[in-house]
């Protein structure tokens, strides 16, 4: 079964690109790759699932763990989801409200960072500087 995960820096972001099926067979590798990225690099991570045709609950579990680690490091996690049935899995579990989902990598990389919760509009750059 096809599965590959690649890591590359992009400006202040680290892009983790996944291709193939995300299931119980591939999540161990995905989990350890993400953990290594969060440990050693910028905690601004884009998980690019644009090349993912299948994502199951074990993949969602890995994403929840990733979001926890990234938040603990005061970072940001964005997730790119293209296939409608992959997005559907987020929606059915309510996780589309937890994750910042983007339709393509470009959109995930250009969107400005959100203000911290409670921060006034315009505080964005301060938050960025403090990250």
């Amino acid at each position: 079964m096809l599965f590959d995960v690649q890591v590359r820096p992009h400006g202040e972001w680290t892009v983790v690109s996944v291709v193939g099926d995300v299931d119980l067979a591939s999540t161990p590798r995905l989990r350890s790759t993400i953990a290594a990225v969060v440990r050693s690099r910028s905690p601004r991570v884009v998980l690019d699932f644009g090349g993912v045709d299948f994502l199951d609950s074990s993949g969602l579990g890995v994403l929840l763990g990733a979001l926890r680690r990234v938040r603990a490091a005061d970072g940001v996690l964005r997730v790119v989801v293209a296939a409608p049935h992959v997005r559907r899995v987020f929606e059915l579990t309510g996780l589309d409200t937890i994750f910042e989902l983007y339709g393509d990598l470009e959109a995930a990389l250009v969107e400005p960072l959100q203000a911290a919760p409670g921060a006034a509009p315009g505080a964005t750059s301060e938050v960025e500087a403090g990250a």
């Binding site: 199951d56 409608p84 559907r88 579990t93 309510g94």
Partner: protein
């Protein structure tokens, strides 16, 4: 003439992709099933098979998992049968709501909700000797 397809696979994660392919190919033999519904069924069956594989792993069991696809005139039923230790579906703790700050502490427990959301009907029969999960998708037709 019966239109049942039976697949038996080793209880290992590397066979999940095969199970998904069989379900998708079986469902495609029936016309009238829309691609999104095949996709739904494919995901639901993969979740059930994942649980079956984990149940066998838990017991250290070498036995294989059985997947039966029944192509009916107005429905597709897929049964996933394992010989794991069974469980009580009513007792499964559910994850906190998405808004709950503790939500991120829960990486598991999403399989059953997904099956329930994706299939038109889900039934689970579990005993000490194993579990049978039946997932149904209706084919659109005059009645639906």
């Amino acid at each position: 003439m019966t239109r049942e397809i039976v697949l038996e696979i080793p209880a290992r994660a590397d066979y999940l992709g095969l199970a998904r392919q069989v379900v998708a190919a079986a469902a495609a033999i029936q016309p009238r099933v829309r691609d999104e519904r095949i996709e739904d069924l494919r995901i639901a069956v993969s979740e059930a098979t994942t649980n079956a594989i984990e149940a066998h792993a838990h017991l250290g069991s070498d036995e294989r998992i059985l997947i039966r696809c029944n192509l009916g005139d107005d429905r597709i039923d897929v049964e996933v049968l394992d010989r794991g230790g069974g469980f009580d579906p009513g007792e499964v703790e559910s994850a906190p709501a998405a808004e709950d700050p503790d939500r991120l502490e829960w990486e598991r427990g999403l399989g059953l909700p997904l099956m329930l959301g994706l299939a038109d009907e889900t039934s689970i029969e579990a005993t000490d000797g194993g579990t049978a999960v039946r997932l149904t998708v209706f084919r659109p037709g005059p009645a639906h």
